[in-house]
């Protein structure tokens, strides 16, 4: 098991950051996010906290480094280049915090990635907080910190007993463990622990880039929110889409048009 941890501070108020979170796709750094849907959403009548469950479809391939470790066909043949991510969010506007958890829904037997984020309003010395009249982004001095923790766990090649014991300790679901058992035979001559460590390390490396991109995307959305409100964010999305895909929508990319419009594209 491997961890990635990062703490970052946005120079924006908590309401602005939490709104940007729900509004963050699409942005120029999220071209890999194909679709976003709200599966469930409700306000808990006791706590008044808003619970949201979303399903994201992202372009994502099993990294080639991991593919090399797998038996032929595994992870490759059914790897459509897309993966489903389940995101659960709880917001408490009175206490000024938001927590989110995102996890991959497929190939969790190879690598299970769980990202947890805790957003927290940072109190300003001497400031009085009352929700009444709290504007989205009035207090230019207000900051919001976010702590990101990503857990990588490869159960690759693990037997049933070991898998179940770990599962109970960590609270993951049991559905994948049975799948793992038959694969063990392929790797009897290899060090299972070594392969797991390698898979987990590749996951950590990719996550560093992903966390940075996600921050850059949030900052763009926050800036648009400050300058033009929600309308400003939506207008920005429309322009991004035109620049990237032309008028045909994401399924028919028009690369020539995209390049013509993005002059400082350094990709």
């Amino acid at each position: 098991m491997k961890f990635f941890e990062n703490v970052f501070t946005y120079d924006y108020s908590f309401p602005a950051v939490s709104l940007a979170y729900f509004l963050r796709y699409p942005n120029p750094y999220s071209r890999h996010v194909l679709t976003t849907d709200v599966i469930d959403r409700y306000v808990d009548p006791k706590t008044q906290r808003l619970h949201t469950i979303r399903l994201h479809l992202k372009k994502s391939k099993v990294p080639s480094g991991i593919l090399k470790l797998l038996p032929k066909g595994m992870g490759g043949s059914d790897n459509s280049g897309q993966s489903y991510i389940l995101e659960t969010t709880i917001v408490d506007p009175r206490e000024g915090w938001m927590e989110s958890e995102s996890r991959n829904m497929e190939w969790t037997g190879i690598l299970s990635v769980v990202e947890k984020q805790v957003y927290q309003r940072q109190p300003i010395e001497g400031a009085l907080y009352s929700l009444e009249g709290l504007s989205l982004d009035d207090k230019r001095g207000e900051q919001t910190t976010v702590k990101t923790t990503v857990t990588f766990r490869s159960r690759f090649g693990q037997g049933k007993l070991l898998g179940r014991r770990k599962t109970e300790a960590i609270g993951d679901h049991n559905g994948e463990i049975e799948d793992d058992a038959p694969k063990k035979g392929f790797f009897s001559s290899l060090s299972t622990a070594g392969i797991q460590r390698t898979i987990e390390l590749i996951g950590v490396k990719r996550t560093r880039d992903a966390v940075l991109k996600s921050k850059q995307g949030m900052n763009i959305v926050l800036e648009r929110l400050r300058n033009g409100g929600i309308v400003g964010v939506l207008e920005g999305m429309r322009q991004d889409r035109e620049a990237a895909f032309g008028h045909e929508g994401p399924w028919k990319r028009v690369w020539a048009r995209g390049h013509a419009h993005i002059e400082d594209d350094d990709n």
Binding site: I39, I90, R103, M237
Partner: protein, 80 residues
């Protein structure tokens, strides 16, 4: 606005998303947490989406993943 996994749900999703963002920013974040005027739109969007998820066979995978998440929900609620 982000596209839906089911293109046929895009219209109702956009209506719901717009309603939600307005309610979230103008009411919920300002302490008016009780009401939710987007319920009707959400219910229409959910009906459309669930049909599509079932057709794509994603619904059962989703149920499993949500079960995995429920323990974390309990953790969240224990906070504060």
């Amino acid at each position: 606005m982000a596209a839906s996994i089911a293109p046929e749900c895009n219209d109702i999703k956009e209506k719901y998303d717009t309603c939600f963002l307005k309610w979230y920013s103008e009411k919920y974040l300002r302490g008016h947490t009780a009401s939710n005027e987007c319920e009707e739109l959400f219910s229409k969007y959910k009906t459309c989406l669930h049909k599509a998820l079932k057709e794509k066979g994603i619904d059962s995978m989703l149920d499993d993943a949500r079960k995995a998440n429920s323990e974390s929900d309990t953790e969240f609620l224990r906070r504060s």
